[in-house]
Amino acid sequence: MVLNFALVLYLFLLLLFIVGNMIIVYHLLTFRLNRILGVFMVGLFLTGSVILLGLNLFYFSEVDWRDLFETVGMVYN
């Protein structure tokens, strides 16, 4: 139960991050004043975002969540 709730919360955070990314890219492209700098900033932002998201998903998949939750006494069933 707690594990499922944590998973839903994590998926919600991921969704929020992706939506945040889309809004920022929209702003950088729509309201840009300098075309070259605009493209550079979008490239920089997306590169950082992809690296951070990839790292996060990798660490998420590496952790044995059930074991961890049992260790800290949060899974009772």
Binding site: I23, F31, R32, L33, I36, S49, L53, Y59, E62, L68
Partner: protein
């Protein structure tokens, strides 16, 4: 401020563009707040990022031992989540800084007021409507680094345009004054020609 200097500014901003820019107008100046205000604004986020990086190398294993039974990957997972949050905050602040700008063109002044991601006010003022331009440099840092306020008094609906904490306010004032004089001269010339035709 001479016409030659204005043409030099035009060259500097030739790669710049903005929404609603008319085909026959050229950008002379793009102004933002001074970089020092940018540093003050970014200091908490950059500090948090640095602490996160230092913490990653110094504290991760201790935190894992204390709270997660030595499972260091959980700590890395938490760090990457915080990193993602800081990354988004950093760019939201950057958008707030970068798109909060004043654009001086050959025809008008455009005041873009960006507040966060979802609030943006744009107002404009033709050079011909300018009545008075005042500069104000107040404080130790503004005096040493030459940044301050430029107040543009108008006859339009928005009574005053304020350029906040912009670099080299005196140069900005001289430039706007030159553009205003040019606009008045041009209008007087057009009126004179119309009178002659009629």
């Amino acid at each position: 401020m001479t016409s030659k200097e204005i043409r030099r500014y035009e060259q500097k901003y030739k790669n710049y563009d903005f929404k609603d820019k008319k085909s026959d107008e050229k950008i002379i100046l793009v102004l933002r707040r001074h970089w020092l205000t940018f540093i003050f604004k970014f200091f908490p986020v950059v500090t948090a990022m640095l602490l996160l990086i230092i913490g990653h190398f110094v504290l991760s294993e201790y935190i894992a031992e204390w709270f997660f039974d030595g499972e260091v990957t959980v700590v890395f997972f938490g760090e990457s989540l915080i990193g993602m949050l800081l990354w988004i905050i950093f760019f939201v602040l950057w958008i707030d800084y970068y798109f909060d700008a004043w654009i001086v063109t050959t025809k008008r002044i455009v005041d873009i007021n960006q507040m966060g991601l979802f609030r943006r006010n744009v107002s404009e003022l033709d050079h011909i409507k300018i009545q008075d331009i005042t500069t104000e440099v107040h404080g130790i840092f503004p005096t040493l680094l030459d940044y301050g306020f430029v107040y543009v008094q108008t006859a339009g609906s928005k009574s005053r345009f304020v350029f906040e904490e912009v670099p080299h306010p005196t140069v900005v004032r001289q430039l706007i004054a030159k553009l205003q004089k040019d606009a008045i001269r041009k209008e007087e010339k057009e009126i004179f020609l119309e009178d002659r035709v009629s």
